[in-house]
Symmetry: C2
Amino acid sequence: MPSRYSTKTPPDALSLAETALATGIAPDLLRVWERRYGFPSPGRDRQGHRLFPTEQVERLRLIRRLIDGGARPSQVVALSAEALNDAISRGLAPDPGRAGSPIGLDADVAEALRLLEEENTDRLARHLNAALMRRGAGAFVIALAAPLTGAVGEAWQAGRLSVFQEHAYVHAMSRVLGRAAEALAVEQGPRVLLTTVPGEAHGLGLAMVEVLLALEGCVCVGLGLQTPVEEIAAAALHHRVDAVALSFSSFFQPRRAVDLIAQLRGALAPETALWVGGSCAGLRNPLAEGASFLVGLPAIAAAVAGLREGSAKRSE
Amino acid sequence: MPSRYSTKTPPDALSLAETALATGIAPDLLRVWERRYGFPSPGRDRQGHRLFPTEQVERLRLIRRLIDGGARPSQVVALSAEALNDAISRGLAPDPGRAGSPIGLDADVAEALRLLEEENTDRLARHLNAALMRRGAGAFVIALAAPLTGAVGEAWQAGRLSVFQEHAYVHAMSRVLGRAAEALAVEQGPRVLLTTVPGEAHGLGLAMVEVLLALEGCVCVGLGLQTPVEEIAAAALHHRVDAVALSFSSFFQPRRAVDLIAQLRGALAPETALWVGGSCAGLRNPLAEGASFLVGLPAIAAAVAGLREGSAKRSE
DNA sequence: GACCCGATTTGTCCAGGACAGAAATGCGGC
DNA sequence: GCCGCATTTCTGTCCTGGACAAATCGGGTC
C-alpha cells in the first residue's frame, strides 16, 4: 500500500494525507478548496497524486488559524502568505481572555523560560517544584503556571521554542501540578469530575483547575484526557459528582466544542453543573443552556461557592 | 454542515465518519470493503448516506483486531460475529509477551481491581501509593503496575469495566508512577529520552519504563506523548541522550509503527540507541537496523548495562 | 531451508457531483 | 434604529466507481 505515513515523498512536499494531518484540514476539504478557490495548487507525482509544497502547507496552517478565529473561507483561502500574516497579526492582537496583566514577566516565569531554552529538564522541574513550595499552590497556579504556559505557547508560535521544548515543559508542569493536586486532596466536599473530550489532548489547563478546585475544598475525580461524552455522563453518575469540568484549548475546533458541550449537557443529569474553560474560540459563542463558561482561573472560586449554596438549598 | 460530530443519527446506527472513528478503519476502506466483500452492509438515510448499525460496528471492531493480529482482510471481513469471536479466542489465546505468569492474581492487583469497580478513585490512589511505599518502586512496577494494567485492559475488553473506569485507572496510576520516577531521579548516568509517536496516546507503559530506568540510574528526559519524529530526533540531539525509548500500545497500527521506527532510526545519530517496547503487533516483525525491541520490563536492565558498556568503550 | 519472481490482494487517492446545515443578507414591523 | 424572520449563499461531508503501487502470497529453483 502506498504508505501514508512514511515520508518517501520529495523532501519539500507532503502527500494529501500528510498535509491533512499537518494542517488539521480534512483531505476532502483540501480537494474542494482547490476546486473552488484555486488554492492550494499542489503539484502532482507520476500517478497524479497531489504533492503539497511545504510553503503551501505553511500557508494552509495560517488559513486554518484565521478560520478557527472566525474568518470566512472564501475570504482567506486565496490570500497570499503576506496578507495572511497581516490578517493574523491584526486579528489576534486583541485576544480577549489572555490579555489583562501588562505587568512584565514575573521573575520566576522568566527564569523558567530561560531554563527551558538553555538548560536541561531536571533543572526546570526543580525550579518549578521550588516555586510551588515557596509560593503555595494557589499563587503558583495563578501567578506562575498560567502565565508561564501562555508565554511558552507564544514563544512556540513565534518560533523561539521548538516543539520538543514545549512538550518537555508540558510534561514537567503536569507532574508538578499533579503532585500538588494530590497533596491537597480532601475527602469531603463538592465533588467535581475533570476531563477533556475526545480530540482534546491538552490537559495543562485542567491540571491547574484541579489544583484550584482542591484548594477550594472540592473532591476532584480525574479521568485523564479524551473521555467520550457518554462515558463522561456515566462517570458523573457513578461518582455522584456535583459538577463536570471540561477544558478546551485554542487548537480545538470551535464548532465541535459547542456541539459536544450541548451533547454532554443533554446527557448529564439536570442538577449536575457543567463548567467549561480554556481559550477555544467556540466558547465565546452562546453555549448550551446550563453550561457555564468559566473565564479565567479565579472565576472558579465563585462557581464552587455557587455549588455549595445550591446544594445547601436542596438539602434544606 | 452536516455535523460529523454530534449524534443526530438514529440511536442504533453511526454515520460513516463516526464508524471510522469508532473502529479505527478509514472511511475509504469501509466503502471499499463493502464493495469488495459485501460487508459491512450499512443502511442508508434519506440522502443516501451510510448508517452502520451498532451491531456491524461491533463486528468491525473484531475484524480490526484480527487484522492487526495478522489476519488477511479477505479471510475475515465477511465472517459472521460468531466466527469472529471464535477466531479471536483461538488466535489471541497464545498471546506471546503477556502470558507467562499463571500464578493467579497478586492480592494487591485483585484489591486494586475491586476498588476500581466498586469504590471511588481516591481509595484507589491511596491503595496504589501505599503499595508503592510497601514494595518499593521496582517490585511495584513489575509485580503490580504491569499486571494490573494488563488485567484492567482485559476486564475492559471483556466488558467488566467501563471506559471511564479504565480512564480513571490510567490517570491514577500515571500520577503514582510519575511521582515515583521524580523521587528516583538522579543527576548523573546514561541519558534516556522517553516519549511516544504521534497517534500513540497511551503512556502508562512509558511511565513504568521511566521508573525502571531511574532505578537503573538513568537520567530520564520525558517529553510526554505524541512527539513528532523530527522533534524526537531534535530533542535527542539537544539533550545529548544516549538512548531514545518509545512505547507502542496494542491499539497502534502495526504497519505505521515499523514505518515510524525506521524513520526515527534514520533521523537519529547512529550512536544513539533506539529502544521500543509495548504490545503493538508490528513490533514482532523485523525492525529497522539498530532498533531493539525490549520485550517485557525486566529486559530494560540488560539494555542499560549494554549502554554503559558501550559508552565506557567509546570513552576509553 | 533460503531465495526469487509472477499473480493476487489491499489500501489510498482521483474526479466531479449532490446535498443539508450554517452563515450572511435583505426586508418588514416595532 | 433595531429586532426577528425569510431567503440566498456558502461550506463541509459524503457519494460513485475507477485506478494504481506497495504488500503479500504461492510456487518453483537452487
